[in-house]
Symmetry: C2
Subunit: 195 residues, 2 copies
């Protein structure tokens, strides 16, 4: 595999498990099997690594959401799949997603990374607003008043649930915290291809 990709993979895992400031170039070097000075060839400063890491992550995530949105399933199923993305990212209570990791340890993050992070949040809210609006129209989600407000709440719920889960070291808190949301989703309601 590409060394650069291997470095990004290793860094992403470490950041999501322990935080961006909690791993060093020495850790990456050991993990990937090169010397730490070599890493500077790919990412001169650690801030460069942060930005590339977030860029790759956000792009892939948004791509997944776009594909999901285009799929011919109900809005409720899209939301359920969205929850699963965040649930899977927790990996049994050992990790959070990269955006939570960056929101959490934003200590030494340079401004471009912060900006990119907020961009990701905005993009997420936009996607959620669209899908929640769709869910409001086809009635596949109950108790839905303001889709935009609900979108922000959903994103916050995901991030908070991940935090609780990693603190506990178990997936349970995530499932409990998201249970109420899941209950509001109707299993089968698709205007385009009704059962």
């Amino acid at each position: 595999m590409d060394t650069r990709t291997a470095l990004l993979d290793s860094a992403e895992r470490a950041a999501r498990q322990r935080g961006f400031d909690a791993f060093s170039y020495a850790d990456l070097a050991r993990d990937v099997g090169i010397r730490k000075a070599s890493i500077h060839h790919h990412f001169p400063k650690k801030a460069d690594l942060a930005l590339d890491l977030l860029e790759r992550y956000a792009a892939a995530f948004m791509d997944t959401l776009a594909q999901m949105e285009a799929t011919d399933i109900s809005a409720a199923d899209k939301l359920s799949a969205y929850l699963d993305l965040y649930r899977d990212a927790v990996d049994g209570g050992t990790q959070v997603c990269l955006c939570v990791a960056f929101s959490a340890g934003r200590a030494n993050l340079p401004d471009p990374v912060l900006q990119r992070l907020n961009q990701f949040h905005e993009d997420s809210v936009e996607w959620l607003t669209r899908v929640l609006t769709e869910a409001g129209r086809d009635g596949s989600m109950s108790g839905l008043n303001d889709p935009a407000a609900e979108a922000h709440a959903t994103l916050a719920l995901m991030e908070g649930a991940q935090l609780l889960s990693r603190a506990a070291g178990e997936i349970t808190p995530f499932d409990t915290a998201t249970a109420s949301f899941r209950c509001r989703l109707s299993p089968q309601k698709n205007t385009r291809s009704p059962r």
Copy 2:
């Protein structure tokens, strides 16, 4: 003021703004006006500081909740006041509460601190479950099915909303993310002293 208290105050502010690993004894020393070696007299290791910090915070927070619970206001008003506690802690997007700060940068936190953190989460959920159950009985909150699940969701919502707000550097994301929850609260419903 007590030096020890001044150190705890300074450390708490720093941890909530930038994270527990992102401030040093040198920072505290500068802030409080003593030499950094002197801090070790009060907190031999930084892990000791972490535990004392969390202990003080959790005790004070739970005390506030207990007093609030004993008050003769509706369950909805108690929940609204609970939200305000988390909102005020954000301080316009510059801080998160200490438990979020610890959940976030749990990198180098020793086991006792982690345990205490989870204890705090459990205590919070218990309080929320009681108040939400009360709100279910007196009907001062709408769309309430499972109080225990809703309690976990509420805690996650608070933590996630704080995270989003600090990342943005504004209070707005917190307000938007909690708006739907607030809408479900009836302004006036108290079984003991109805209007």
